[in-house]
Protein backbone atom coordinates (compact mmCIF):
# COMPACT_ATOMS: atom_id res chain seq x y z
CA UNK A 1 0.00 0.00 0.00
CA UNK A 2 1.05 3.55 -0.71
CA UNK A 3 -0.28 6.43 1.37
CA UNK A 4 -0.94 9.67 -0.48
CA UNK A 5 -1.36 12.95 1.43
CA UNK A 6 -3.05 15.93 -0.21
CA UNK A 7 -2.49 19.49 1.00
CA UNK A 8 -4.33 22.78 0.54
CA UNK A 9 -6.84 22.90 -2.28
CA UNK A 10 -5.83 19.40 -3.42
CA UNK A 11 -7.44 17.98 -0.26
CA UNK A 12 -10.73 19.52 -1.42
CA UNK A 13 -10.43 17.49 -4.60
CA UNK A 14 -9.14 14.18 -3.30
CA UNK A 15 -9.60 14.27 0.48
CA UNK A 16 -6.70 14.67 2.92
CA UNK A 17 -5.44 11.12 2.57
CA UNK A 18 -5.75 8.16 0.19
CA UNK A 19 -4.38 4.63 0.26
CA UNK A 20 -3.53 3.03 -3.05
CA UNK A 21 -2.24 -0.33 -4.18
CA UNK A 22 1.51 -0.26 -4.61
CA UNK A 23 2.72 1.04 -7.97
CA UNK A 24 6.28 1.13 -9.28
CA UNK A 25 6.86 4.84 -9.76
CA UNK A 26 5.59 8.35 -9.08
CA UNK A 27 4.67 8.77 -12.76
CA UNK A 28 2.40 5.73 -12.53
CA UNK A 29 0.93 6.93 -9.27
CA UNK A 30 0.20 10.44 -10.59
CA UNK A 31 -1.36 8.99 -13.72
CA UNK A 32 -3.63 6.85 -11.57
CA UNK A 33 -4.54 9.82 -9.36
CA UNK A 34 -5.39 11.97 -12.36
CA UNK A 35 -7.74 9.27 -13.65
CA UNK A 36 -9.37 8.96 -10.25
CA UNK A 37 -9.52 12.76 -9.63
CA UNK A 38 -9.63 14.54 -13.02
CA UNK A 39 -9.68 17.95 -11.32
CA UNK A 40 -6.06 17.38 -10.18
CA UNK A 41 -4.88 17.89 -13.76
CA UNK A 42 -5.61 21.63 -13.52
CA UNK A 43 -3.69 22.05 -10.25
CA UNK A 44 -0.12 23.04 -9.58
CA UNK A 45 1.77 21.08 -6.93
CA UNK A 46 5.08 19.55 -5.93
CA UNK A 47 5.56 15.90 -5.06
CA UNK A 48 7.44 14.50 -2.06
CA UNK A 49 8.24 10.85 -1.40
CA UNK A 50 8.81 9.96 2.24
CA UNK A 51 9.14 13.67 3.10
CA UNK A 52 11.71 14.45 0.40
CA UNK A 53 10.78 16.58 -2.58
CA UNK A 54 11.36 15.00 -5.98
CA UNK A 55 11.46 16.44 -9.49
CA UNK A 56 11.66 13.60 -12.03
CA UNK A 57 10.05 10.19 -12.02
CA UNK A 58 10.97 8.31 -8.82
CA UNK A 59 10.56 4.65 -7.98
CA UNK A 60 8.26 3.83 -5.09
CA UNK A 61 8.47 1.14 -2.48
CA UNK A 62 5.60 -0.52 -0.67
CA UNK A 63 4.45 1.40 2.45
CA UNK A 64 5.96 4.68 1.28
CA UNK A 65 4.14 8.00 1.71
CA UNK A 66 3.70 10.41 -1.16
CA UNK A 67 2.67 14.02 -0.48
CA UNK A 68 1.25 16.51 -2.99
CA UNK A 69 1.63 20.15 -1.94
CA UNK A 70 0.36 23.26 -3.77
CA UNK A 71 2.01 26.67 -3.42
CA UNK A 72 0.27 29.19 -1.12
CA UNK A 73 0.37 32.91 -1.76
CA UNK A 74 -1.69 34.23 1.17
CA UNK A 75 -0.30 36.47 3.87
Amino acid sequence: MITVLFFGKLAEIAGAKAELQAVASTDELLEQLRLQYPALAAEKYIVAVDKKTITGNTSLTDHCTVALLPPFSGG
Binding site: G8, K9, K52, T53, F72, G74, G75
Partner: protein, 373 residues
Protein backbone atom coordinates in the same frame (compact mmCIF):
# COMPACT_ATOMS: atom_id res chain seq x y z
CA UNK B 1 17.72 53.89 28.45
CA UNK B 2 20.00 52.64 31.16
CA UNK B 3 21.19 49.06 31.46
CA UNK B 4 18.88 48.29 34.39
CA UNK B 5 15.78 49.08 32.32
CA UNK B 6 17.17 47.07 29.40
CA UNK B 7 17.78 44.17 31.74
CA UNK B 8 14.27 44.41 33.13
CA UNK B 9 12.63 44.58 29.69
CA UNK B 10 14.42 41.52 28.32
CA UNK B 11 14.88 39.68 31.64
CA UNK B 12 12.78 36.65 30.74
CA UNK B 13 14.82 35.91 27.64
CA UNK B 14 18.12 36.93 29.26
CA UNK B 15 17.73 34.24 31.92
CA UNK B 16 16.79 31.69 29.27
CA UNK B 17 19.37 28.94 29.06
CA UNK B 18 20.98 28.89 25.62
CA UNK B 19 19.96 32.50 24.91
CA UNK B 20 21.24 35.06 27.41
CA UNK B 21 23.03 38.40 27.04
CA UNK B 22 24.98 37.42 23.95
CA UNK B 23 21.84 36.59 21.97
CA UNK B 24 20.13 39.74 23.28
CA UNK B 25 23.07 41.86 22.11
CA UNK B 26 22.68 40.38 18.61
CA UNK B 27 18.98 41.31 18.58
CA UNK B 28 19.78 44.83 19.81
CA UNK B 29 22.17 45.20 16.86
CA UNK B 30 19.96 43.53 14.23
CA UNK B 31 17.91 44.98 11.43
CA UNK B 32 15.06 43.18 9.68
CA UNK B 33 12.82 44.08 6.75
CA UNK B 34 9.23 42.86 6.95
CA UNK B 35 7.43 42.80 3.58
CA UNK B 36 3.69 43.18 4.07
CA UNK B 37 2.06 44.47 7.27
CA UNK B 38 -0.95 42.17 6.92
CA UNK B 39 -1.95 38.87 8.50
CA UNK B 40 1.57 37.47 8.70
CA UNK B 41 3.32 40.83 9.04
CA UNK B 42 1.40 41.85 12.19
CA UNK B 43 2.62 39.03 14.49
CA UNK B 44 6.10 39.09 12.93
CA UNK B 45 6.38 42.82 13.67
CA UNK B 46 4.98 42.53 17.18
CA UNK B 47 7.37 39.77 18.26
CA UNK B 48 10.45 41.22 16.59
CA UNK B 49 9.85 44.64 18.13
CA UNK B 50 9.09 43.09 21.52
CA UNK B 51 12.23 40.94 21.33
CA UNK B 52 14.40 44.05 20.86
CA UNK B 53 15.40 44.06 17.18
CA UNK B 54 17.19 47.40 16.72
CA UNK B 55 15.77 48.50 13.37
CA UNK B 56 12.62 47.20 11.69
CA UNK B 57 11.73 48.07 8.09
CA UNK B 58 8.13 47.75 6.94
CA UNK B 59 6.99 47.76 3.29
CA UNK B 60 3.26 48.00 2.60
CA UNK B 61 1.12 50.19 0.36
CA UNK B 62 -2.27 49.17 1.69
CA UNK B 63 -4.73 50.87 4.04
CA UNK B 64 -6.53 49.26 6.97
CA UNK B 65 -9.98 47.93 6.11
CA UNK B 66 -12.69 46.35 8.23
CA UNK B 67 -12.17 42.91 6.67
CA UNK B 68 -8.52 42.99 7.85
CA UNK B 69 -9.35 43.17 11.54
CA UNK B 70 -10.21 39.51 12.10
CA UNK B 71 -6.56 38.59 11.54
CA UNK B 72 -4.43 41.76 11.43
CA UNK B 73 -4.36 42.28 15.16
CA UNK B 74 -2.19 45.42 15.25
CA UNK B 75 -5.09 47.48 13.91
CA UNK B 76 -8.45 48.68 15.24
CA UNK B 77 -11.63 50.26 13.88
CA UNK B 78 -10.32 53.80 14.42
CA UNK B 79 -7.56 53.06 11.90
CA UNK B 80 -9.80 52.04 8.97
CA UNK B 81 -8.79 53.89 5.82
CA UNK B 82 -5.34 54.84 7.16
CA UNK B 83 -2.07 53.43 5.77
CA UNK B 84 -1.08 50.20 7.52
CA UNK B 85 2.58 51.20 7.85
CA UNK B 86 1.66 54.36 9.79
CA UNK B 87 -0.76 52.56 12.10
CA UNK B 88 1.68 49.71 12.68
CA UNK B 89 4.51 52.06 13.68
CA UNK B 90 2.19 53.97 16.03
CA UNK B 91 1.30 50.80 17.93
CA UNK B 92 4.75 49.21 17.79
CA UNK B 93 6.55 52.35 18.97
CA UNK B 94 4.47 52.24 22.14
CA UNK B 95 5.36 48.59 22.61
CA UNK B 96 9.07 49.39 22.38
CA UNK B 97 10.18 53.06 22.25
CA UNK B 98 13.79 52.00 21.56
CA UNK B 99 12.99 50.35 18.22
CA UNK B 100 13.94 52.31 15.11
CA UNK B 101 11.63 52.05 12.12
CA UNK B 102 12.21 52.43 8.39
CA UNK B 103 8.85 52.93 6.73
CA UNK B 104 8.19 52.23 3.05
CA UNK B 105 4.62 53.26 2.22
CA UNK B 106 4.84 51.78 -1.24
CA UNK B 107 4.48 48.53 -3.08
CA UNK B 108 7.63 46.46 -3.45
CA UNK B 109 8.41 46.40 -7.18
CA UNK B 110 11.18 45.16 -9.45
CA UNK B 111 12.43 48.77 -9.54
CA UNK B 112 12.70 49.49 -5.80
CA UNK B 113 13.30 45.98 -4.39
CA UNK B 114 17.09 45.92 -4.57
CA UNK B 115 17.47 49.39 -3.02
CA UNK B 116 15.13 48.61 -0.15
CA UNK B 117 16.31 45.04 0.56
CA UNK B 118 20.02 45.84 0.40
CA UNK B 119 19.77 48.00 3.55
CA UNK B 120 18.72 45.04 5.72
CA UNK B 121 20.42 41.90 7.07
CA UNK B 122 17.33 39.68 7.24
CA UNK B 123 14.24 39.75 5.00
CA UNK B 124 10.85 38.41 6.11
CA UNK B 125 8.22 37.79 3.44
CA UNK B 126 4.65 38.19 4.64
CA UNK B 127 3.30 39.32 1.27
CA UNK B 128 0.04 38.10 -0.19
CA UNK B 129 0.74 37.42 -3.85
CA UNK B 130 3.05 35.33 -6.00
CA UNK B 131 4.47 38.25 -7.97
CA UNK B 132 5.95 39.74 -4.77
CA UNK B 133 7.02 36.33 -3.44
CA UNK B 134 9.06 35.48 -6.57
CA UNK B 135 10.47 39.01 -6.72
CA UNK B 136 11.56 38.91 -3.06
CA UNK B 137 13.09 35.45 -3.45
CA UNK B 138 15.08 36.37 -6.55
CA UNK B 139 16.25 39.66 -5.02
CA UNK B 140 17.38 37.83 -1.84
CA UNK B 141 19.38 35.34 -3.92
CA UNK B 142 21.06 38.13 -5.90
CA UNK B 143 21.79 40.19 -2.77
CA UNK B 144 22.81 37.18 -0.61
CA UNK B 145 20.15 37.87 2.02
CA UNK B 146 18.50 35.22 4.18
CA UNK B 147 14.73 35.07 3.63
CA UNK B 148 12.23 33.96 6.24
CA UNK B 149 9.21 32.71 4.31
CA UNK B 150 5.64 32.06 5.41
CA UNK B 151 2.43 31.64 3.40
CA UNK B 152 -1.12 30.67 4.23
CA UNK B 153 -4.29 29.47 2.58
CA UNK B 154 -7.61 28.71 4.26
CA UNK B 155 -6.62 26.41 7.17
CA UNK B 156 -3.01 25.64 6.24
CA UNK B 157 0.32 27.40 6.45
CA UNK B 158 3.90 26.93 5.25
CA UNK B 159 7.13 28.17 6.86
CA UNK B 160 10.76 27.98 5.67
CA UNK B 161 14.06 29.83 5.86
CA UNK B 162 15.55 30.31 2.41
CA UNK B 163 18.97 31.30 1.13
CA UNK B 164 20.71 31.28 4.51
CA UNK B 165 24.48 30.78 4.74
CA UNK B 166 25.18 27.39 6.36
CA UNK B 167 28.35 25.28 6.15
CA UNK B 168 29.82 27.56 3.49
CA UNK B 169 26.84 27.37 1.17
CA UNK B 170 23.44 28.94 0.73
CA UNK B 171 20.43 26.84 1.66
CA UNK B 172 17.68 26.24 -0.91
CA UNK B 173 15.46 29.10 -2.04
CA UNK B 174 11.79 29.38 -3.05
CA UNK B 175 12.60 28.53 -6.69
CA UNK B 176 14.04 25.16 -5.58
CA UNK B 177 10.64 24.42 -4.09
CA UNK B 178 8.28 25.98 -6.64
CA UNK B 179 10.42 26.81 -9.71
CA UNK B 180 7.77 28.58 -11.78
CA UNK B 181 5.07 31.03 -10.70
CA UNK B 182 1.56 29.64 -11.08
CA UNK B 183 -0.60 30.88 -13.91
CA UNK B 184 -3.57 33.16 -13.59
CA UNK B 185 -6.25 31.72 -11.33
CA UNK B 186 -4.40 28.45 -10.62
CA UNK B 187 -4.02 29.31 -6.96
CA UNK B 188 -6.45 31.43 -4.98
CA UNK B 189 -5.39 34.14 -2.52
CA UNK B 190 -6.92 34.91 0.90
CA UNK B 191 -9.43 37.37 -0.55
CA UNK B 192 -10.80 34.66 -2.84
CA UNK B 193 -10.32 31.50 -0.76
CA UNK B 194 -10.75 32.84 2.77
CA UNK B 195 -8.55 32.35 5.81
CA UNK B 196 -9.20 31.63 9.45
CA UNK B 197 -8.01 34.59 11.54
CA UNK B 198 -5.77 32.63 13.92
CA UNK B 199 -3.78 30.93 11.16
CA UNK B 200 -1.59 33.92 10.22
CA UNK B 201 -1.10 34.44 13.97
CA UNK B 202 0.39 30.96 14.27
CA UNK B 203 2.42 31.02 11.05
CA UNK B 204 3.56 34.63 11.60
CA UNK B 205 4.71 33.75 15.12
CA UNK B 206 6.70 30.85 13.70
CA UNK B 207 8.28 33.23 11.19
CA UNK B 208 9.24 35.59 14.04
CA UNK B 209 10.69 32.60 15.90
CA UNK B 210 12.83 31.58 12.90
CA UNK B 211 13.96 35.19 12.47
CA UNK B 212 15.05 35.46 16.11
CA UNK B 213 16.84 32.09 15.88
CA UNK B 214 18.56 33.21 12.68
CA UNK B 215 19.76 36.49 14.19
CA UNK B 216 20.95 34.92 17.45
CA UNK B 217 22.28 31.62 16.01
CA UNK B 218 20.02 29.72 18.36
CA UNK B 219 18.59 26.25 17.71
CA UNK B 220 18.00 24.65 14.31
CA UNK B 221 16.52 26.67 11.46
CA UNK B 222 13.94 25.52 8.92
CA UNK B 223 16.68 25.74 6.27
CA UNK B 224 16.43 23.20 3.44
CA UNK B 225 13.06 22.33 4.94
CA UNK B 226 9.43 23.24 4.46
CA UNK B 227 7.21 23.09 7.51
CA UNK B 228 3.45 22.86 7.05
CA UNK B 229 0.72 23.17 9.64
CA UNK B 230 -3.00 22.44 9.43
CA UNK B 231 -5.22 24.21 11.97
CA UNK B 232 -8.14 21.81 11.49
CA UNK B 233 -6.40 18.63 12.66
CA UNK B 234 -3.20 20.11 14.16
CA UNK B 235 -1.13 18.02 11.79
CA UNK B 236 2.35 19.18 10.94
CA UNK B 237 4.48 17.96 8.08
CA UNK B 238 8.13 18.72 7.48
CA UNK B 239 9.66 18.19 4.06
CA UNK B 240 13.32 17.99 3.18
CA UNK B 241 14.14 20.23 0.24
CA UNK B 242 17.07 19.92 -2.10
CA UNK B 243 18.73 22.22 -4.60
CA UNK B 244 17.54 21.96 -8.17
CA UNK B 245 19.86 22.28 -11.14
CA UNK B 246 17.51 24.57 -13.08
CA UNK B 247 17.02 27.13 -10.26
CA UNK B 248 20.00 29.29 -11.20
CA UNK B 249 18.71 29.64 -14.76
CA UNK B 250 15.27 30.84 -13.54
CA UNK B 251 16.58 33.72 -11.42
CA UNK B 252 17.62 36.91 -13.23
CA UNK B 253 21.45 36.92 -13.41
CA UNK B 254 21.89 40.51 -12.18
CA UNK B 255 20.01 43.23 -10.30
CA UNK B 256 19.71 45.13 -13.59
CA UNK B 257 17.92 42.18 -15.20
CA UNK B 258 15.72 41.82 -12.13
CA UNK B 259 14.70 45.45 -12.53
CA UNK B 260 13.55 44.67 -16.05
CA UNK B 261 11.71 41.47 -15.14
CA UNK B 262 7.94 41.90 -15.06
CA UNK B 263 6.94 39.70 -12.09
CA UNK B 264 3.30 40.73 -12.28
CA UNK B 265 3.16 39.52 -15.84
CA UNK B 266 5.09 36.31 -15.00
CA UNK B 267 2.46 35.48 -12.42
CA UNK B 268 -0.30 36.93 -14.57
CA UNK B 269 -1.71 38.05 -11.26
CA UNK B 270 -5.47 38.08 -11.15
CA UNK B 271 -6.54 41.68 -10.81
CA UNK B 272 -8.36 42.11 -7.53
CA UNK B 273 -10.56 45.19 -7.36
CA UNK B 274 -9.86 47.28 -4.28
CA UNK B 275 -13.26 48.30 -2.97
CA UNK B 276 -13.49 51.02 -0.33
CA UNK B 277 -16.30 51.98 2.00
CA UNK B 278 -17.81 55.43 2.58
CA UNK B 279 -15.37 56.27 5.41
CA UNK B 280 -12.29 55.59 3.30
CA UNK B 281 -13.94 57.31 0.34
CA UNK B 282 -14.62 60.47 2.37
CA UNK B 283 -11.07 60.47 3.63
CA UNK B 284 -9.69 60.33 0.08
CA UNK B 285 -11.99 63.21 -0.88
CA UNK B 286 -10.79 65.20 2.13
CA UNK B 287 -7.14 64.58 1.26
CA UNK B 288 -7.84 66.08 -2.15
CA UNK B 289 -5.00 64.36 -3.99
CA UNK B 290 -6.93 61.53 -5.63
CA UNK B 291 -8.76 61.67 -8.95
CA UNK B 292 -12.43 60.96 -8.21
CA UNK B 293 -14.21 59.68 -11.30
CA UNK B 294 -17.92 59.14 -11.98
CA UNK B 295 -18.09 56.34 -14.57
CA UNK B 296 -21.86 56.61 -15.12
CA UNK B 297 -23.36 57.91 -18.35
CA UNK B 298 -23.90 61.66 -18.62
CA UNK B 299 -27.18 62.88 -17.06
CA UNK B 300 -27.63 59.85 -14.81
CA UNK B 301 -29.36 60.46 -11.49
CA UNK B 302 -28.58 61.29 -8.75
CA UNK B 303 -26.37 64.23 -9.70
CA UNK B 304 -23.40 64.47 -7.39
CA UNK B 305 -22.67 67.98 -6.10
CA UNK B 306 -21.14 67.10 -2.72
CA UNK B 307 -17.55 66.85 -3.98
CA UNK B 308 -15.66 67.74 -7.12
CA UNK B 309 -15.06 64.92 -9.58
CA UNK B 310 -14.54 64.04 -13.22
CA UNK B 311 -17.06 62.33 -15.46
CA UNK B 312 -15.76 59.60 -17.75
CA UNK B 313 -18.42 57.02 -18.68
CA UNK B 314 -17.23 53.40 -18.44
CA UNK B 315 -17.48 52.76 -22.20
CA UNK B 316 -15.09 55.62 -23.00
CA UNK B 317 -12.72 55.09 -20.07
CA UNK B 318 -10.06 53.25 -22.09
CA UNK B 319 -9.68 56.23 -24.47
CA UNK B 320 -9.30 58.75 -21.66
CA UNK B 321 -6.83 57.15 -19.26
CA UNK B 322 -4.33 59.90 -20.14
CA UNK B 323 -6.55 62.36 -18.23
CA UNK B 324 -5.79 60.47 -15.04
CA UNK B 325 -2.46 61.85 -13.89
CA UNK B 326 -3.00 61.48 -10.14
CA UNK B 327 -1.34 58.62 -8.23
CA UNK B 328 -4.63 57.55 -6.69
CA UNK B 329 -7.84 57.05 -8.66
CA UNK B 330 -11.23 56.44 -7.10
CA UNK B 331 -14.09 55.39 -9.37
CA UNK B 332 -17.76 55.32 -8.51
CA UNK B 333 -21.10 54.57 -10.19
CA UNK B 334 -24.62 54.05 -8.94
CA UNK B 335 -24.28 50.61 -7.30
CA UNK B 336 -20.56 49.82 -7.40
CA UNK B 337 -20.78 47.31 -10.25
CA UNK B 338 -19.67 49.42 -13.19
CA UNK B 339 -17.03 51.11 -11.06
CA UNK B 340 -15.59 47.67 -10.17
CA UNK B 341 -15.27 46.99 -13.91
CA UNK B 342 -13.72 50.42 -14.38
CA UNK B 343 -11.21 49.76 -11.56
CA UNK B 344 -10.24 46.51 -13.26
CA UNK B 345 -9.71 48.22 -16.61
CA UNK B 346 -7.62 50.94 -14.99
CA UNK B 347 -5.56 48.36 -13.08
CA UNK B 348 -4.79 46.64 -16.37
CA UNK B 349 -3.61 49.93 -17.85
CA UNK B 350 -1.66 51.32 -14.87
CA UNK B 351 -0.58 48.12 -13.10
CA UNK B 352 1.02 48.87 -9.75
CA UNK B 353 1.97 52.43 -10.72
CA UNK B 354 -1.30 53.85 -9.36
CA UNK B 355 -3.64 53.00 -6.52
CA UNK B 356 -7.10 52.33 -7.86
CA UNK B 357 -10.21 52.08 -5.73
CA UNK B 358 -13.88 51.48 -6.40
CA UNK B 359 -16.60 52.82 -4.08
CA UNK B 360 -18.37 49.79 -2.66
CA UNK B 361 -22.18 49.97 -2.88
CA UNK B 362 -21.95 52.95 -5.22
CA UNK B 363 -23.04 56.57 -4.82
CA UNK B 364 -26.55 55.42 -3.91
CA UNK B 365 -25.36 53.73 -0.72
CA UNK B 366 -22.91 56.56 -0.03
CA UNK B 367 -25.71 59.16 -0.15
CA UNK B 368 -27.86 57.09 2.17
CA UNK B 369 -24.98 56.82 4.65
CA UNK B 370 -24.29 60.56 4.55
CA UNK B 371 -27.91 61.21 5.54
CA UNK B 372 -27.79 58.84 8.51
CA UNK B 373 -24.46 60.19 9.83
Amino acid sequence: MNNDRLYERYQRQLILQGFGAEAQQKLLAANVLVIGAGGLGCPVLQYLVAAGVDEVGIVDDDVVSLSNLHRQVLYNVQMIGRPKVECAVEVLQQLNPQTRFAVYKERLTNKNAATILSRFDVIVDGSDNFATRYLVNDACVLLNKPLVYGAISQYEGQVAVFNVQQNNERSVNYRDLFPHPPKDGEVLNCAEAGVLGVLPGIIGSMMANETIKLITSTGVLLANKLFTYNTLNNQTYELELSKQAETASLIPPTIETLQQTDYKWLCSTTIVVNEIDATAFNQLIAEGTAAIVDVREKDEQPVVTEFSHMQIPLNSLQQHTAWLTEDTIVVFCLSGKRSAQAAKQLAEVFGASKKIYSLKGGIQQWMQQQQTV
